[in-house]
Amino acid sequence: MAQARGASGDKRKWIIGIGAVVVVAALVIGGVIWTISDKNKTEGQIINPGQTTSSLAGDVTQKRDGVVVTVGKAGAKASIDVYADFLCPICGQFEKTYKTDVEQAINDGKLQVRYHMVPLLNDRSDPPGYSLDSANAALAAADAGKFLQFHDALFANQPEEGKRGYDKAQLIKLGQDVGITDPAFSQTVNAGTYDQQINAAFQQIENDPKLAQDFGNGQSGFGTPTVTANGKIVSWQDPGWLAKVTG
């Protein structure tokens, strides 16, 4: 009797052991596959161009000057500077919250916006480089007069930090989908034509004491998004900030 139980106990132990190994192996393999596919879910995706800014008034101009893009009507009284990174989640939040109001003010001829693309999180995509690639592509889109459409589509379909961004081919496709026909666009995106200028501007921005914010505990520095009006930082968390700026 004792022997029989011993034999069946050993058998049981084997079955449990093998079962555990199988379960663990399945879990690990499944986990690896899921993790990688979740991190790479932007792969092969077409960035939705959306209808977001189709209502821009005809006399709104989008002009690139160096690495800054100015959007607005001539003669707008107020102007703001927006410093943002296409990968930065809070920048995405800012765009979601205020895009309509800002673009309304632009259409009404009350506001000019100077957009600065800041590659602050360039190593925070996987593979690194999305911040710079998207900034460069946005400047290329400005050359074709389609900056805001491109900008809004990237924020509306913002990839997550730590995951895959969009590659150059996807950025080029988006450009075409927002109506860019100039072949120079894809060349500029692929060549990273503005990369150096963007990085140089970023260094200046980071070291500019006027753009440093107080994070509390005696710490200050530059962060994205930063909005300034008349050279002063605007606290955009206050819902009435835009009305104050446009007066």
């Binding site: 069946s8 106990g9 049981r12 132990k13 879990l27 986990g31 991190k39 996987d126 997550e160």
Partner: protein, 175 residues
């Protein structure tokens, strides 16, 4: 000196086992749920080259979940407790080195993580908490037999039917 009775020690061990299992299952699941954030957290420790950080960010949540499942089931408790202790020591070492180097990061122990403002680090709390978990692992390493465990169930099948159910002397040797 009153020596705690066997059932009391078993109960403490069982609580330690289930508690440690919960820690690993929760932290592993939170990390697995957001692979991007996990990668940022791993990178923030600034000890691994990018390629390796990527591997660790994928492997760590899965290792944690596996440890949690084994502990929950009470299978190979002593081995798993040993592995858990080693992993905890590595994680504590990671926190200590970023503290010593003056990095300002969140340990990312339960999801989240990455850089934080300099005044918002919680290194002492994080180390204290992980040390508490390490103590649970040490207990199980020293005294792995617990109630409601597969180890115990398997040991009972070893043929000595007159043994009381909670005498796990067999696995104490075997493991």
């Amino acid at each position: 000196m009153v020596r705690p009775s066997q059932p009391v020690l078993d109960a403490v061990g069982t609580l330690a086992r289930v508690g440690l299992a919960a820690v690993w299952l929760v932290s592993g699941a939170l990390k697995l749920a957001d692979p991007g954030q996990t990668l940022i957290a791993v990178k923030a420790y600034d000890v691994l080259p990018d390629a390796l950080a990527n591997v660790v960010a994928i492997a760590l949540p899965l290792v944690e979940l596996v440890l949690g499942l084994f502990l929950l089931a009470g299978l190979a408790t002593r081995w798993v407790a040993g592995a858990a202790l080693v992993l905890l020591l590595v994680l504590i070492a990671g926190i200590v080195q970023s503290w010593a180097r003056g990095l300002s990061i969140d340990c990312g122990c339960f999801g989240g993580g990455g850089q934080v403002a300099a005044g918002q680090t919680e290194y002492p709390q994080e180390i204290l908490r992980d040390s508490g978990f390490a103590l649970l692992a040490v207990w199980l390493l020293a005294r792995p037999w617990t109630r409601l465990s597969l180890d115990g169930w398997l040991a009972r099948g070893r043929g000595n039917s007159t043994e009381p159910a909670h005498d796990y002397s067999g696995i104490a040797e075997g493991n």
